[in-house]
């Protein structure tokens, strides 16, 4: 921009930097505090002496969680649902997007199918009929309830359709003339050149699967079937008391002397956050793509 050297401009700049710095810190500080609590001693946590730095550093909370079978198990289920859920979803969505991205001349009734999809996206029967439907279909209390119903994300299908429509028509025709069938065209021509949109969809649905907890809580009865976030939900809300008792019982055996209920909750929160942090740099690269792709019009 244009060079400015006026005094008032520099004052404005200083204020802006200060406000933005505070806003940035405001978003990070809670995580730092939570990390500090998870690493602090029983005495320090009970006396509310922990700020942004661990007081009386120890790893008892993490050692306790590593020994918690349900927790370790739920972590595995979360990883499984991300891998299976994302692959299944991606497969269904590209196969759906391909025919819907073709012009009506080649795909009569395209508009009709799109209207059906849109209606499905905008109108739902509500929670109870959904629950009863899954019960009728025999999906309750099965792992598949976490990955099959959300496989078709209509918003992502629209993103992929819009991207496919940007692929040059000649490329499509040439591939068909060469004798390839539609599936071959999709997998050998379209998918290799659709990396940006597929990366966006993959990342966003992976995050979504990792973060989902409500479906686990209501569709799966046994805690041993829950993904990590459902387990965390029960810990953060209802189980706190039971947990405290469990911790004290352990403490009687002098196993985890410094563990605290707050410390265990925060340790778990942190463990559930780390995978997101790991993919975050990638996510940042793609979320603008996700936004702009959504706004492409026909």
């Amino acid at each position: 921009m244009v060079g400015e050297t006026g005094f008032s401009d520099r004052v404005v700049d200083a204020i802006l930097y200060l406000i933005l710095l505070i806003l940035g810190l405001l978003c990070v500080a809670p995580f730092v505090h939570v990390a500090a609590v998870s690493l602090s001693s029983h005495a320090a946590v009970s006396a509310d002496r922990v700020g942004l730095w661990p007081v009386g550093l120890h790893l008892d909370n993490y050692r306790f969680m590593m020994g918690d079978k349900l927790f370790v198990n739920s972590f595995g289920i979360s990883v499984l649902r991300v891998v299976v859920g994302v692959s299944l979803g991606l497969l269904v969505m590209v196969i759906t997007a391909y025919p819907l991205s073709r012009d009506s001349i080649y795909m009569p009734g395209r508009t009709f199918f799109k209207v059906i999809l849109l209606f499905g996206m905008m109108f739902s029967g509500g929670l109870i009929p959904y629950f009863l439907a899954l019960r009728d279909l025999g999906l309750l209390n099965k792992f598949w309830v976490l990955v099959i119903p959300p496989a078709l994300n209509i918003f992502y299908v629209i993103l992929i359709i819009n991207f496919f429509r940007g692929i040059p028509h000649e490329l499509w025709e040439a591939a068909l003339l060469d004798g390839a069938n539609h599936l071959q065209v999709l997998f050998r021509v379209f998918i290799p050149i659709s990396k940006p949109v597929l990366a966006t969809v993959t990342l966003f649905s992976a995050v979504q699967h990792w973060n989902s907890w409500f479906d686990g809580v209501i569709f799966l009865k046994e805690a041993s079937q829950w993904p990590l976030q459902s387990y965390l939900y029960s810990m953060v809300t209802t189980r706190m008391l039971q947990w405290q008792t469990a911790v004290s019982a352990e403490r009687a055996g002098q196993a985890f002397l410094e563990a605290t209920p707050e410390g265990l909750a925060t340790a778990m929160i942190l463990i559930a956050t780390i995978p997101i942090l790991l993919v975050y740099p990638l996510l940042q690269r793609y979320f603008v793509t996700g936004l702009t792709l959504g706004s492409i019009k026909e």
Binding site: N211, T266, A272
Partner: protein, 292 residues
């Protein structure tokens, strides 16, 4: 072959979207799980009447609207002001660092954020300790009915403003830099440029977001409320979604009342559908936006 490729999607739609829609019939029946959907007796609009005649109806609808509208207004306001401030920053590393920090909470679930909120907002938590340092007595953010809705609104704003700003920042970078140069040559100061170039530049985006947000005024944040609320704050914090969940699925002091839950849910999704259609129509009319 093209049609065959649609089969998986149609099957999923039929099972998980249209089959449940058929299930809303139980809103008009006295549903008993033993008899099943078809054999349960019709009761017309009785379930709806039961809801609207109960003392729950008004507060729940009011809470939903209050919380949702508060989130939209404050959320958009903070996102816009934040993106305008960030746009003034020329040190790219600083800009990036602030953006990285502020968008992170968006990608975490309400279980994680809720767990953190419970930790930092407790009466002896760090927020109240800071306030205590300023001489302010402890505030029960999660345990006082008149404060709880604001806790919901501001924790949502905290979680989402960074990501909400992304769309405005995208619009800001699309403004032609020559406009700024020309304005500077004409002697326009920083504030004048903000008023005459920057704001008109992101006006379409603001209008678009305003139109689209209309579709969400019945969504007060189900997962957030479910994680953070407790019976003490039901009076101001219970929303349509949590009510449906408690009455229709968990069962309040007894068996779940499927029919009542479905009726209230249908009331919400009916109006919600209308609002979404309206918001898309407005977005198309005023902001030239088409989702398909």
């Amino acid at each position: 072959m093209l049609y065959a490729m649609l089969l998986p999607a149609l099957l999923l739609l039929a099972l998980f979207h249209f089959y449940p829609i058929w299930g809303v019939l139980i809103a008009f029946k006295d549903y008993s799980p033993v008899k099943g959907l078809l054999a349960s007796p019709w009761v017309g609009l009785d379930n709806f009447r039961r809801f609207f005649d109960s003392p729950n109806a008004l507060p729940i609808i009011r809470n939903t609207l209050f919380i949702a509208v508060g989130k939209i207004i404050f959320g958009q306001l903070v996102a816009i002001v934040f993106s305008l401030m960030l746009n003034e920053i020329r040190v790219r590393l600083f800009k990036r660092a602030v953006q990285t920090a502020t968008t992170l909470p968006h990608f975490l679930s309400w279980v994680i954020i809720g767990g953190i909120m419970v930790q930092i907002l407790s009466t002896s938590g760090p927020v109240n300790r800071l306030l205590g340092g300023l001489g302010i007595p402890p505030i029960r953010f999660l345990g006082k009915a008149n404060i709880f809705p604001w806790t919901l609104i501001f924790s949502e704003v905290w979680k989402e403003f960074g990501f909400g700003a992304v769309i405005y920042l995208a619009a800001l970078t699309a403004i032609n830099p020559e406009l700024y140069e020309a304005a500077a040559v004409d002697g326009a100061g920083r504030f004048a440029r903000l008023i005459h170039i920057t704001l008109p530049g992101i006006r379409p985006t603001i209008i678009l977001m305003a139109c689209l947000s209309l579709g969400g005024v019945l969504n007060a944040g189900f997962e957030q409320v479910l994680v953070l609320y407790n019976p003490v704050v039901y009076k101001t914090g219970d929303i349509i979604d949590t009510f449906v969940f408690r009455v229709g699925l968990v069962g309040q002091g007894g068996l779940p009342d499927y029919s009542l839950g479905t009726a209230v849910g249908l009331f919400k999704s009916g109006i919600g559908f209308f609002l979404i259609m309206l918001s898309y129509w407005l977005a198309d009319k005023f902001a030239n936006y088409r989702i398909f």
